[in-house]
Symmetry: C2
Amino acid sequence: MALLGIDIGGTKIAFAIIDNNGDLPLKDIVTIDHRAGTDVGELITGGAQRLINEAESLGHRVKAIGLSVPGISRQSTGTVWAPNIPGWDDYPLLKEFKAIAGNTPVTIESDRACYISAEVWKGNARGCRNAVFIAVGTGIGAGIMVNGEILHGAHDIAGATGWMALSRTFDNRFKSCGSFEFYASGEGIARRTEELMHSEKEYIGILQEVSNRKLTTEDVFKAWKHGDKIAEIIIKQAIEYWGMAAANLVSLLNPEKIIFGGGVFGPAAELIPDILVEAEKWAQPISIKQVTFEPTALSGDAGVLGAAFLAMKKISGIKR
Amino acid sequence: MALLGIDIGGTKIAFAIIDNNGDLPLKDIVTIDHRAGTDVGELITGGAQRLINEAESLGHRVKAIGLSVPGISRQSTGTVWAPNIPGWDDYPLLKEFKAIAGNTPVTIESDRACYISAEVWKGNARGCRNAVFIAVGTGIGAGIMVNGEILHGAHDIAGATGWMALSRTFDNRFKSCGSFEFYASGEGIARRTEELMHSEKEYIGILQEVSNRKLTTEDVFKAWKHGDKIAEIIIKQAIEYWGMAAANLVSLLNPEKIIFGGGVFGPAAELIPDILVEAEKWAQPISIKQVTFEPTALSGDAGVLGAAFLAMKKISGIKR
């Protein structure tokens, strides 16, 4: 048996054939360039068809197809919302795929759902039935698995962790992104560092080296490594917020693992022990002892692996 | 078909036969008095046996038994932890029940799980697959239903909402109960009101009428109705915390309903529109439009109804 996992990103699409051992004997990547709407759809179905044929010629029969989308997969309609792909507000991806897939089952899930699934299958949450993937990149979201199933919510937008209310009282600047994301996302960290640099008139330091472009989270982490005062304030605050948010996930969901991933973890992975110390203050005291905090174990293959795992679960009725 | 629902409280035990229509043709209540350990177990199995026999003589054959426990039901061992019943730290309730139930399936769930189930079956969350019951009494907890199933977590202590971190920065007084519970539980509201009375030396008002006993939440609500300044501060703050906590449940779980119950809702039920206004500030903006906030619809029968519903689901494999 083989599976086809497809990871649709904002700029490129990765395809992989996954065999019985979870190995990836065939891979392909295509770039989206400036395509939109049905052109992107055709790019994906075409690439899928190509890889299915190639796999077949090598003796791998594709039994199920899983797709990871950077947005929302509407389970009831089979349509997807992907804000980075023009024309994909309510795009009929499942219908298009069924046209090429015939009787082969097709599963479409959000990238966050795929990330936690990949960790459960092959990563640092292996074998867990209750686990959360906190993805901290430009924004913040979470993939949540409970009772061995992806938590979709009533309308497929569960896991909007960036909106977690952590800092009373309300500030109008939370309006567009949520209070957690405001303080502790990649964008939030960079923006708050710039603000603090401008308000601290007497500041002299490494962050000033970046003057010809927008500050990034990497700059802030680099400055923090050099003992920069402003970076220290910002990172300390981010640790507090990450700890509070993780604590809330632990108290509410009583998971076995919290996995930290996304671009910021990355450099923030070494802070996970500090995040746990912060979370221990806040969380339900028994539940926090029953969980471990870990960085993501999977590099670029998480999307294709997770999508393939969810497709496989669907056909085999595996209750993990 | 009939079901036997049993609601184990801190001081009494309610038994009810629930028929096909969800009516309760037979009910019984026994008080625990000063019993402990196996004496309480025998009280429950004895009462159950009596009601099963009585039901049978009226032509109702009990097909499944559900029990609601005021604590934790450990699904893997069939044991329960109920802090108000001496000796029930890891009590083998399922084993005891199987001895009298024969082949009749027995389900044991936490009271919070039963409350949300009762609302889904017969109350204000009727037919929902994703809904939360926030129980605000002396403490705060939540019964959570996702994908039509009770969320237990890895070790059956999911829904520990009272521990939600809402108020940075950490205060050592949160240690024994969690920050949400500290501010917005029945006990928290009463304690904080007393503290504020003592710190506001010039306070003259209705709350002073209570001097010969401990202040209760009811006193605070009564004072608030009379426009008392201190009560207003405390209730306003509680609304903020209830709104933030509800917002977090909405952003994370994307549910169809949030049901407010427990002793405090009750008097706080009329504040639900204000709680929604607060939650709307914080929550994921699409998700908050897809949910409604409601008070509990069920009076004292929620425990027996919810336990019976979960027992019925188990035997019929109903996916609601």
